[in-house]
Amino acid sequence: MNTSKLSRREFLSYAGIAGSGLLLGCSSLTSSKSPLPKFIEPVDNDPQRLNIFVAIKPDNTVEIVSHRVEMGQGSKTGIPQIIADELEADWNQVNVIQGLGDKRYGNQNTDGSTSIRKFYDKLREIGASARTMLEQAAADYWKVPVEQVYAKNNRVINKNTDKSVTFGDLAELASKQALPDVKTLRYKSPKDFNYIGKPVPVVDLHDMVTGNTTFGIDVDLPNMLVASIERCPVIHGQVKSFDASAALKVPGVVDVIQMPATPETVLFFPLAGVAVLATNTWAAMQGRKALSIEWDLGENQSYDSDEAFKAMHKTLEKSPEVVGKKGDISKGFNAAKKVIEAEYKVPYLAHAPMEPPMATAWFHDDICEIWACVQNPQAVMEHAEKMTKLPKETFKVQPTLLGGGFGRKSKTDFTNEAIFLADKTKKPVKVVWSREDDIQLGYFHAGAVQTMKAGLDDKGKITTWHQKTAYPSIGSTFNHQANSPAGFELGLGFADLAYDFDNVLMEKGQAKAPVRIGWMRSVCNIQQSFALNSFLDEAAHEANITTENMILNSLGENRNVNHEQVYGFKFNNYGEKLKRHPYSTERYKNVLTALTAKTPINEKLPKGQGWGIAVHRSFVSYVSVATKVEVKDGHLTIKEVHCAIDCGLGVNPDRIKSQMEGAMLFGLSLALMGKIDIKSGKVVQSNFHDYPVVRMNQAPEIVVHLVNETENAPGGVGEPGVPPVAPSIANAIFAATGKRYRELPLNQYLSV
């Protein structure tokens, strides 16, 4: 992504209007042609123009594009906060525009907790560049050197005369300025930040409390058809035959269309099935119920998740493959005073965003417009090209608000379904996923088995560590032959080990994917942190020291760990350079001690109550969690959850807090109740009654501490809260009852 701007002439022809203002690129032109008033007509792309974030209007308003999507994490506010700050814009004059899918923005895949950490510097550059152009324009106007002027609060001020001129008045002049050399840009000193680090309310707040939002499900177009699709319940099964006559009799149903066969490598292609299209959602759903389909369920119909867990256990016993090592574990175990072993299991999980996947597509005038709740608009374009063989530029993707995402909506199978049906019918088509579709046919978090073995010396110090894991890989979605955890998955809290043991062996085993596998909020950190933090707690009890001391001792010296050097494991550090985001055991320790200093984890408790702790680094941020539970008459109550996050520089502390609150409850849901079973190749659960998520009566008090809010480069926020939650609960239950639960969810042992 480079900063570039449109020439005046280009701008005029681009926008078709005269007398407008500064434009550092532009995707923000409202066209009367757009059928949806809230959305902006996709504009023509020019690969030369790379910066399309800022436009100043003659009325002194500032349009700032948020190029990532909004699903509750707050980046639609955080991104413009950064730009507006460097720009010296007045927040009250800022209009935030949702960016279309467009590679000029750089990566738009809103996952991996990347929106701020990957773009912070670039967004400041964009703001500073625009501000410089405004300052230069004012200097030209007053005929003074640019050093004599400065921007503040949507105006540029002349230092000598104290006269000022608004951004709006400067807009036209500024747009004629040459693009400043990036190297010459001046950046604000953090002490002068107006918006970075401030709890700015989210830009859609008013619409959210008045019911005026547009999510994927809310898109409506003239003559639009709504599609409800009956998909094959077993992956790689196919439609043998179907009878649509009863469906077609349902009032409102206008068409029944067979979906294409599921390809061997599932990618983001549609699943095999039959679509019922109607003039409204209810009719489409009723029509779908009236379908009669004969399936060829294929070979996956014999899959059973319980059996698969046993098979994973076996592969770890028999034929693991080395992932990383240090020292010699057999010598270490021989010399150990005590050896402990445990096996942990986390089941398959579904994302269950509050809004199921929804997508609308419409072919017209040689383009296909798409409005959908997608996390990755550019992936929509790429995968539409794969399916239709039309050039990806054909697809103009306008992300709506997302009613939650959690990784599910990074997969663009549902937009491909809408595109397929829109092409067949030559009408706008909205594909509506039911909750049952969402729970049963998504891209699941893979069930996993992890075995742990540790050797302790006579002082209770862990000297030797042997860990093995097996689960179906996300890689299987992109290559059907992938059948063991990939490096990027093992680097999510398994092989990126923080702890300093003399002898370490890390191994993995094989597992075949029985469903589509995808990434879900914090991904493999879920199971890998559960095993790691549970086992450290077990070791602490074995050594008769506090878990906090076991963790701090085991972390060893303050140092930056290089996993490639220590273990021969190529750790990709969440796509960040170790120089910018070192793997710091000091920050690991700090985030834990900052929490325990403020939380009474060693208080004397009544019988049946206990505290548990866990700490984890993920998405280059550090999070600790302390949970207090009560177990009484077989019932588990989560009484309090306290957490601390060190995510480096925070842009919006209120949204960091809200993400942590959300992550605590997301972690609680999966720890207490999250479980997807697969029997005869089909997902057993179907809706919130049998795939429950936490409700208000189960939600504890949550306390969030932000640690080191200004030091260090920004790290991830959306995901890192989740991994320590489940082990903190299991550890608390052990403290309360002496019972160790090594398999999630906990409602198989206790009522919740």
């Binding site: 008045t210 009032p251 409204n280 959690f406 939600a699």
Partner: protein, 157 residues
């Protein structure tokens, strides 16, 4: 044709009696503020009021609302100045926002009958409304704030 009173406006819709109110509102009347989350009465995203009672519109056939008053999020206060909306904004409650129409419609009926709800009252009344993003602590706080504001407003009158 079915005659419906939605937010004190009369509408005529051509819908079968068994079509749930949710889809009548959303697809036939283009009132999109009421959301779909589960379709089986489990999540509360679709909560509206029928004659002042909170109902899950995804499982409530429109036929029963023929002579009733339906109230939706769009009718609370389009300016967003109802005390409950103000409390929601003051506490920055929403994350994704998708469940919030239903949360607000449920909370309103709690506050209509209980001017000073305890944590337990709130839990009991609100546990039918799922928020997958996890905004419960803030919803609880906002309900209490709104209760205070509404009590003060009532005192003023």
């Amino acid at each position: 044709m079915i005659k419906l009173n939605v937010n004190n406006e009369m509408h005529e819709v051509d819908a079968p009696d068994d079509m749930p109110i949710l889809w009548v509102l959303r697809d036939l009347l283009n009132r999109k503020g009421t959301k779909f989350g589960c379709g089986i009465g489990q999540c509360g995203a679709c909560t509206v009021h029928v004659n002042g009672q909170p109902v899950r519109s995804c499982i409530t056939p429109v036929g029963i609302a023929k002579n009733a008053k339906i109230a939706t999020i769009e009718g609370v206060d389009p300016k967003g100045e109802h005390p409950i909306q103000i409390a929601w904004k003051d506490n920055n409650v929403p994350q994704c926002g998708y469940c919030q129409s239903g949360q607000i419609m449920s909370a309103l009926t709690l506050l209509e009958n209980n001017t000073n709800p305890s944590d337990e009252d709130i839990n009991n009344h609100m546990s039918g409304n799922i928020c997958r993003c996890g905004t419960y602590p803030r919803i609880k706080k906002a309900i209490k704030d709104a209760a205070v504001a509404m009590a003060n407003n009532a005192g003023d009158k």
